[in-house]
């Protein structure tokens, strides 16, 4: 365990060198919230409706605020990119020859970076909350908050595994890195990072409920924002767990076949 703690420390050190980068990302996110807010304000104004799919203008803005904060914590896209690059450039070799679990290594790196990012994001968003406090819409069932740390951790692990599974295809398709941009867009859409998924027709939402993606972003936000029933909460947690197991198995299989094809090129 201590070795992964040290990995976490090292990546803190590395990350701190690029602190401006983090701050920049958070500031960019604030502007994105503003842009989304402006879009929906116009939308509500033109459509002359008070609510859409159960969202008012303010609850939808709250959704985006939460999305960016939770999103920074959960996002594991960078890890996926690093793994695919390791495979492509042969950097994976130096992990293979060391007594360290490769995915465990990246997991601890991701967690430590996420904690750093989260703290910077919170620092920047707290003033926003303070200013908009009155207009924000929360519908929380207090008891459900007990489960919230669990839901967030599972969401993080789930997202991590989705990204890892995708990136391991680099064993089979060399130029995978160019698909990352596309993957991010599709993933964002499916997970509820573009708009709240429940404004979609019920039938489509029904399909989404069977996929892993919405349990990464949409599900944790809806607990705070819209409020969900206890049975929905447990359904969501169960879905998170099942998908984590399924993805873990997929990753094992991809790894087992992929590593035999790995040529360690570039070294």
């Amino acid at each position: 365990m201590s070795r992964y703690l040290q990995v976490a420390k090292i990546s803190w050190q590395n990350a701190l060198i690029y602190k401006a980068n983090f701050i920049g990302t958070s500031i960019m996110n604030i502007f994105r919230v503003i842009a989304e807010a402006a879009f929906w304000a116009v939308f509500f104004e033109v459509s002359k409706k008070d609510s859409i799919g159960g969202y008012t203008l303010f609850s939808i803005i709250t959704y985006y605020l939460l999305m960016f904060i939770i999103g920074t914590f959960i996002n594991a896209n960078q890890t996926g990119f690093s793994i695919a690059n390791d495979i492509k450039t042969g950097r994976l070799s130096q992990f293979l020859v060391k007594p360290v679990n490769y995915l465990g290594y990246y997991m601890s790196e991701a967690i430590s970076k996420k904690l750093l990012q989260l703290s910077i994001t919170l620092l920047i968003f707290i003033p926003v909350f303070a200013i908009c406090y009155k207009n924000l819409v929360f519908n929380i069932v207090p008891v459900q908050l007990i489960f919230y740390p669990l839901v967030l951790s599972l969401a993080f692990i789930l997202n991590y595994l989705i990204n890892v599974a995708f990136s391991l295809t680099a064993f089979f398709v060399i130029e995978i890195t160019s698909f990352f941009f596309l993957q991010e867009i599709i993933f964002n859409f499916l997970s509820g990072g573009v708009f709240p998924l429940d404004i979609l027709p019920k039938s489509i939402l029904g399909v989404f409920r069977l996929l892993p993606f919405m349990y990464v972003t949409y599900f944790p936000i809806s607990i705070l924002n819209k409020g969900i029933s206890t049975s929905e909460l447990f359904y969501g947690i169960a879905a998170q767990c099942i998908w984590i197991i399924v993805l873990y198995i997929i990753i094992k299989i991809l790894w087992r076949f992929g590593i035999r094809l790995y040529a360690g090129t570039g070294i």
């Binding site: 201590s2 070795r3 703690l5 040290q6 990995v7 420390k9 090292i10 050190q13 590395n14 060198i17 042969g90 950097r91 070799s93 130096q94 293979l96 020859v97 060391k98 007594p99 360290v100 590593i259 035999r260 790995y262 040529a263 360690g264 570039g266 070294i267």
Partner: protein, 330 residues
Amino acid sequence: MKIIEVDHVSKSFNIVKKEEGFMSSLKSLFVRKHESITAVEDISFDVYEGEFVGFIGPNGAGKTTTIKMLSGIIYPSQGSIRVMNFIPQELKEEFKMNFSVIMGQKNQLWWDIPAIDSFLLYKEIYQIPEKMYRNNIDELSELLQVSHVLNIPIRNLSLGERMKLEIIAALLHEPKLLFLDEPTIGLDVFSRRKIRDFLKVINKERKITIILTSHYIEDIKALCSRVIGIHKGKIIYDGPFESISQDLFDSKMVTVTFEYDAPELDLKRYGQLLESNNNKLAFLIKKNMLNEFGKEMFTGRSIIDMNIEDIPVDEVFEKLFDIKERAEMV
């Protein structure tokens, strides 16, 4: 005791072949030509504990592929390998605790932070006891004279300093076996000598078995008690360095540039002509003939430049291969 056993090992890669040009790039999206390339073909050898073995051979001969198989990074296509009684590609933890690989053109230390911080991670990964860790850092950085750069971010260091730190990192956990793939590539003579002396010491005093590939013949010559020559994926020589071919190492490569076109020369008794190019001639000259050769060159001729150097390893190798091929033909 045997530390490495390689038994009839082959490795082939499947690669995608593409013809030149844009249209064929488009075509390759749909139809791909795969080709199997044999990187290593039916090689067998054993290495004993404490040996210092040099792999030599031209680029693409299969040296790095062999090292990658020995360290478990890639799977052999055929044959069996045992290293310290482990099957390398299973990558057992205990196996990994006992060896290190250094690839000359790859950084393993973190680019943005000082080496000393990266070392801490190595300490945890390999679970090195505090005392052993301190002693090794002190001793190794003293030997390589890099104590003063331990606290400077890697990106601000010279290539030579970086390589020395990479070597220290690889040795912190006191491995029994060390693979070095072109550790001195691109380094100046001074750093190379330093690293050479260092490797000699750790092989002798720490009894570390070392497998080295290098492009510099002096490296191999100074260090390796045994040389394995690889060419086109096959082992063509395995034995002590001295008996590769005595006259090759008794010679120097001399390049002479004349002011005007090169004269016709009869130099049979000094050595042989390798190459002639307008006003530039390259010779292989026996060391004990260098003096006389020089005298002859400088008398009555106008010379702009004269360069005396060790024979490049590829050159040695080609000769070696020629000799072998010729022997086979006879």
